[in-house]
Symmetry: C2
Subunit: 663 residues, 2 copies
Amino acid sequence: MGFEQAWLSYGVLRKESKWRGIERICADPASPVMKNAVGELQKALGTMTGKEPVLCSGADKEAAGTRCIRFRQDGEGKADGYHVYEESGDVVIAASSDCGMLYGAFELIRQAQIGNSPVGLDIAKDPVMPLRMLNHWDNMDGSIERGYSGNSFFFDHDEILVDDRTVTYARLLASVGINGAVINNVNVKDAATWLITDRYFDKLRQLSEIFAGYGIRLFLSLNYAAPVELGELDSADPLSEEVGKWWKDRMKLVFEQVPHLGGFLIKADSEGRPGPFTYGRTHADGANMLAEAVEPYGGLIIWRCFVYNCKQDWRDYKTDRARSGYDNFIELDGAFRDNVILQIKNGPMDFQVREPVHPLFGGLKDTNQMLEVQIAQEYTGQQRHVCYLIPMFQEVLGFRTYVTETDDTVKDLVSGKTFGHTKCGMAAVANTGNDENWTGHDLAAANLYGFGRLAFDPSALAEEIAREWVVRTFGEDEEVCEVLLFILMNSWRAYEMYNAPLGIGWMVNPNYHYGPSVDGYEYDRWGTYHRADHLGIGVDRSHHGTGYAGLYREPNASMYDSPESCPDELLLFFHHMPYDHKLQSGKTVIQHIYDTHFEGVELVDEMVKRFESLEGKIPDKAYRRMLDRFRHQKEHAREWRDQINTYFYRKSGMDDEKGRQIF
Amino acid sequence: MGFEQAWLSYGVLRKESKWRGIERICADPASPVMKNAVGELQKALGTMTGKEPVLCSGADKEAAGTRCIRFRQDGEGKADGYHVYEESGDVVIAASSDCGMLYGAFELIRQAQIGNSPVGLDIAKDPVMPLRMLNHWDNMDGSIERGYSGNSFFFDHDEILVDDRTVTYARLLASVGINGAVINNVNVKDAATWLITDRYFDKLRQLSEIFAGYGIRLFLSLNYAAPVELGELDSADPLSEEVGKWWKDRMKLVFEQVPHLGGFLIKADSEGRPGPFTYGRTHADGANMLAEAVEPYGGLIIWRCFVYNCKQDWRDYKTDRARSGYDNFIELDGAFRDNVILQIKNGPMDFQVREPVHPLFGGLKDTNQMLEVQIAQEYTGQQRHVCYLIPMFQEVLGFRTYVTETDDTVKDLVSGKTFGHTKCGMAAVANTGNDENWTGHDLAAANLYGFGRLAFDPSALAEEIAREWVVRTFGEDEEVCEVLLFILMNSWRAYEMYNAPLGIGWMVNPNYHYGPSVDGYEYDRWGTYHRADHLGIGVDRSHHGTGYAGLYREPNASMYDSPESCPDELLLFFHHMPYDHKLQSGKTVIQHIYDTHFEGVELVDEMVKRFESLEGKIPDKAYRRMLDRFRHQKEHAREWRDQINTYFYRKSGMDDEKGRQIF
């Protein structure tokens, strides 16, 4: 399938733009990364100005009257940081690494696209998070688990695809500073188990070289039971010498064949995946065995903390899935090798529209940590509803854990600031597929873009990122910009309003996770309940209940533990409350449910109305794609509203004080 | 896959049995049916007595001291009826048709199996229903829609299978008097549309000849849009001359190639299937066009009445799916050609564990009618729970419609007694597949067996049929018989007890239709709602509501219309009632829900306990198969109990007066 260039589709700059007149790039690119840095500048400025800058030698600084872009080796910044600035009409990219040069080049392209001048330019940036990764849940048959943008562009029919799209993908990632990608699903089955065998080495090497040229390390998801499933051993016991040796031999082979490989992501003992529990061993045993095997090659083991009992009895009020990640890992703090990273989802459940921050953040002190978010909108509208998630991620990153007195936010933890870790960062479950526009909903691309920007620089404001993305994608038309910003910046809020109320989550159709079903998971085995009866709703996670609130450090623990101080938006996550309980907002729980659901739909209507005003102002193809989705969202938001309002009206018998229609 | 012989697996008779000593069969079998009649007797008596009777000429009645079975042409009974009796130590099978002879032969086998003596034998039977059919929902890829016994034995990979299993299938059907089978799914798609083309004629002919040898007519489900989907016409408008001619030509070809074909079953304008509505025509237009095309060949058009709006808005309280079959067809009464039969499901919804009888029975006067039941246990435990359905079918057949003053039951209507119809009868959606035991649950075979016996003779008692089936399948051990009879005869009641209460139905997981989900269909588009709120539950189908009750003739209409006279077991089907309403049983609705759900589980426990006492007394393979299912049923019945009780406890806030555990 054909594909578009997303935010790297360059428009023509205004006549007075000072980027015009930069006619040379002075460089002697030796490495693939440097060649790409130069190439990207040539392509971008060539399209934007109509005249592609000529490549001259780095030594050739003076040419009669023409301005140039120069590269300057500079040891000052962090690795992969850059400093771009004007120097006597020229533009200098200074960095200590090739990758920093590439990022500097993309910074210039960004500045040109958003209408800033090279005159007086002076921007220095170091990437704040060491690891900025995408996790693709692509299966080797070409399907994507929780994929809403077509099929995989990495795999088809159990083969690895390497083509033009691969290159554009790498360019898009590098342009926002993403430096790692896991290309296969964490649920590793069938052919994917064989990715670490010679069946796939050639293609993996090709892929990893393209990636490396853009500063991206290729990672793979690993099947913990590979030695067994490949038919070579009878056991995958991490403390067995034989198993350890098998992995060492295997990793030697893998890294010899695919030297650019960054390491592996592992989902073990979770949702039916094998793991060390099978052998009565701990996650530390399992992770460390693998870490030892990849250590000689600088490899990383990224170990997911999404471990819980997925066969819970709904009748069991004591077991609390929210506790499970914490309970499974907290005692292993300090037990992991230095090249192991624990990857922790933003919340304790699973990417709901609203969750508290995962208590392992601030719990763990002596363990490398990575924050996992999901830009694939599994529970947030599946890229049919618009839901710009960067504001949510920013809230998470800004959450104070109180693990130390200062520098204790999630951002500080995963950027390494709190404890001086260097193997840490942020990963996003990817929202891309082989759709022409990459992300199904055109506006979903803002999440991909924003994730990279945020991981590179978490101080960037969600709205600024959105504005930048809009301008780079759709150009500088102020009306387009205003409308799309209005939509993006209201979208998460709107979705939350017509979704499950007050942090309780999970009111979705089982399996698909799309569309409302209040009781969809209520009597199921997944540990995801709302416990609504005719008097009230919510899960008691206070010290009267499962004690989950106590997993946080003070003052968070006390704040969450009491319904008086618990923030409204998480009240039902932490407490079972009567429908007539008054929120801090002054509304009762039931009236809040009714109000938010009616108002959420009104907000969507407003979004769609404004969007429709853009006909003719953005490319028609994109307009049509979005319009289809907006019309669906409008309808579907009503379905959410009516099902949830009706459910609670029927259950509580309490009238909407505004007398609106409930069925 | 291998297969067993079900109730045609013959045991050895006791030494003193008078069936021993029948050493000859005197006959001159010329037709395939007669050859099969003789062959079945030889096979059965040979196994049961250890000595296969010799075939002698029909003229050769006297052989020194040996007894024989003789066939006697007899014009007295109905076509396909028979009279079997002892005559001077010999056994005579008298009938007016070959098929009657075959049924007589199977009657003798049955008598021998259940331990009756040939001495004094004198049984005369005419089939009560003219058509006794199975409807297979088998797809040509080998899957079976709503199949719970493995894959199809008719189709695989778009090819028709004809093998040993086909013959045993025909023998099983003939042994219980079934005389027609539709082999492909009513949802005709893909390859199945091509069944009426030369791609499949050879195999269909072979199949139909095997069937014909056992008195069974082969039927096919037809794609109403075949002329379009086969790419030959642009329209399937039933009033178009071109379309009519296309069908006439096509049917000429089909019946020339497959002369034994009985006709076609059609699901039109239903659940996405094409039909005459597409062209603004009536179902009579559609059916009559096809009927005209098959008429020269004695073909029948069986037209399903399962037509309803499957895209209802759950917010719409006025539309009533239960009305739709009646509303769509009642005005067409008298408009159908003589070789059209309307096939009407037993209830107005879709094979729930409890429904009222379909109001078209007693509504239609001048239309051939066939009763459709479902022995595939789609909504009644999917052949993992035991649910012997013959008692339910008997209730349906015995229902007085008051369309005439006497002879007005459903049985009278579909046997032709009421209006003198001859094209009528009963069809069952089949429960067979390529599992070794044919029906998944061994006890589900009692439904296949019982359906045939009931259609042949609706006066047979469900318990008698069950006893007969048990003895024929598992032998005469009295304890085995008692235990299995207890289980079978309590199974429908038990399933109803722990299922959706008081006739409301539909509290199942969407799509699969397995396992409890009280709100599973509540906010969906299928017209299947319970409308429960904190005060009460049920759908008002009285004259205050949708008016459905008024579709029945008096006194049924009045009986259903009032909550006072409406039978308890259908109360919530017809009325929305408060939880504290007192039933005729003296219990409140809510207490009835609690009691039946607790007691239903207790009944299952008792069934399983008794079943476990049979270890070693029935073949181990069958015991293990059933034990697995019983253990699951025991667990799963608890899931039903707890989900439904909890749902209503939470919603109503009303305590169980016995204080049992609700979650």
